[in-house]
Symmetry: C2
């Protein structure tokens, strides 16, 4: 297995409603990534998209995007893991290059959620026979986890406010972010209740976006860029699909297991992570992931937010360019935006959001109610 | 990149309407494959499914199947390439083992098409902006290709009859097949017109099914079976998604290119192939694939059928256990059934359908109107 590096990144600014159609949105991200890598052709394209079946009436997404970019003939396949779909596309591109089947592979994601309300299509990430008929949605399942958390640990709702504050502060200076504005405590705490106890600012927004990265063997990466970023580890783990089948819904075993696998493969531990691009689709999810990955003890994830460790100046910066909450969460594209941001940070291109000399970054991507979790580690 | 072998196969008999739900149908195939390999656990599961979003309201298929089998914790991802989806799952499992990320990986596919009419969901494999609004479906596009073929080459419709006869003859003795009965020329030629010039017997049936294979490194394959089958090559190529964008719609460039890539990777040519599990979703498609892969000259694919070369006694047996036409074409599962059948043939387990001492087999899987084509080669 040969080491793999990222040699190009491409992001289209996240918007509430893009003027571009799905194919042109996705193609634009791929073109930007290829231009960034200085290549006009790749061997393979792995596409992440979760909702086009319903929202655009379109399957065959990978070949659609390859066709739109003009890459006739290349390999093109679509990959999925519910709301972690973008990370699954990254993993497949990593496989393709690591195995030697491709010299240059694009991992891309695109989602156009503005076409119609996506809530019912998103809920298909849950168990369609046993959860959806009870009225469950991804939002309600996260609300349930937060209720359980607040009760079990006796934590106040207000303790979570910094997840949103941090995300918005970081997005304010990210030109690709949906919400380029800071928010204050009163705004978060006064925002409307979406699904109790979740308020609007606990939830990532519905939006349109696309992002892509180009992967190459580490041995030839410098032919494309003088600042390649190495993929140190890639790992996936699953939990029972249905939340009620889990011994402890707050334990997020798939997150713990995939993080442990990634750490083992890279020979690293949580202590080595300089910043964490976390899956903050909901503030409770960010909190639980911090605990599952051993950045905080069980019941203590919220403290990293409350005490400011998650800010850019803190011990474990999260969502350094706005996260799902404020950069936006166009599902299939989300993890690819995060990889682009990690590359920006590790190569000193994060502008106003630049962390001082980060060396190792972690990305975690959550499918559904944490039934599938992918962990990727990156370094120079 | 390490060589990869198939060490277990599992097939659930194809049915018009299975009494099993999607999850149990898929889980049963996985259990059978794991039992065949003598393993109780695998590292990863790659699931192929095309239509559950619409027909069962279910995404997150790979984790659903892993959960149902009881494989909590393993890697599980869904892969897609429209109607070639099963082959995409095989390719991902191949990547996982070849790269060293997994020691044992399952490639599985499941489709339950009986839940509701699948035609409109299937049509999403075409271009949703430029083809579907004109009224195009997968059936109508294949009808168009056949019309063009008959006109261009001055071939009579009757010249295609042996594709269906051969498939039904082979399915008659396959206990996993949907149609276990032979048909005669009069039945085929007298069958109703579905979409002119396509008659019922030119088209694969709508059905339910699931199949799976277990992959392991070739070096350790004999720990699981005394008859491992090597994956000699795996390749993918794409064409323009929209048929009208192609210089010659009858050329199937993606099929030609993916076959050439597979031959190059394996150091083989068309002359080395002992039998061909072709994508006979439509008889015209089988004919065009024979030409694209250089088994016949352009305009001459039908002759291999008319002259009997495609029969089990012929020079290039096709669809040796019934093919898509008569074993059935439960989309996401189809290529996995074909891989199981190839393993049966190469290991002398094909029963009444056994070919005499076959050494090298070819599988080709077509996504949409041949916009994405995967080619796999297998040998002992």
């Amino acid at each position: 297995m040969r080491p793999v590096s990222i040699v190009g990144i491409g992001q289209v600014p996240v918007e509430k409603q893009s003027s571009l159609s799905l194919r042109h949105l996705g193609a634009e991200a791929v073109r930007r990534a290829m231009q960034s890598a200085g290549v006009e052709r790749v061997d393979a394209l792995f596409a992440g998209n979760m909702l086009a079946d319903e929202l655009q009436g379109q399957k065959h997404i990978a070949t659609l995007i390859a066709s739109t970019v003009g890459l006739k003939g290349i390999e093109a396949l679509q990959v999925r893991a519910a709301t972690a779909t973008g990370a699954a596309a990254l993993r497949m591109a990593y496989f393709a290059v690591a195995s030697g089947e491709a010299e240059l592979a694009v991992a891309m994601g695109v989602e156009k959620m503005s076409s119609m309300p996506p809530t019912s299509a998103l809920a298909k990430a849950l168990d369609a026979e046993k959860e959806v008929p009870t009225g469950a949605t991804l939002i309600s399942q996260n609300a349930r986890l937060m209720t359980l958390y607040l009760e079990r640990y006796g934590v106040a709702y207000e303790s979570f406010v910094n997840f949103a504050l941090n995300a918005h502060r970081n997005a304010a200076t990210n030109p690709h972010a949906l919400f380029q504005k800071e928010v204050d405590v009163a705004t978060v705490l006064g925002s409307r209740i979406v699904n109790a106890p979740l308020r609007l600012f606990d939830c990532a927004p519905i939006c349109d976006g696309a992002a892509a990265v180009v992967l190459a063997p580490a041995a030839t990466a410098r032919a494309h860029t003088d600042r390649p970023v190495r993929i140190l580890a890639s790992a996936v783990a699953t939990d029972w699909l249905r939340v009620d089948d889990r011994a402890d819904p707050l334990a997020l075993e798939a997150a713990a297991l995939s993080a442990q696998r990634a750490f083992d493969r890279a020979g690293l531990s949580a202590a080595d992570i300089d910043f964490f691009e976390v899956h903050d689709a909901f503030s409770i999810m960010a909190c639980l992931l911090l605990e599952a990955c051993h950045f905080a003890p069980r019941g203590g994830g919220w403290r990293l937010a409350a005490e400011g460790a998650i800010f850019r100046e803190g011990a474990l910066p999260l969502a350094t360019l706005g996260g799902l909450k404020a950069r936006g969460h166009p599902i299939g594209a989300t993890a690819l935006y995060q990889v682009c941001e990690i590359v920006q940070q590790l190569t000193g291109q994060a502008g106003a959001n630049q962390l001082p000399d980060p060396r190792v970054a972690m990305l975690q991507s959550v499918g559904g109610a944490a039934a599938t979790v992918l962990t990727h580690l990156f370094g120079l």
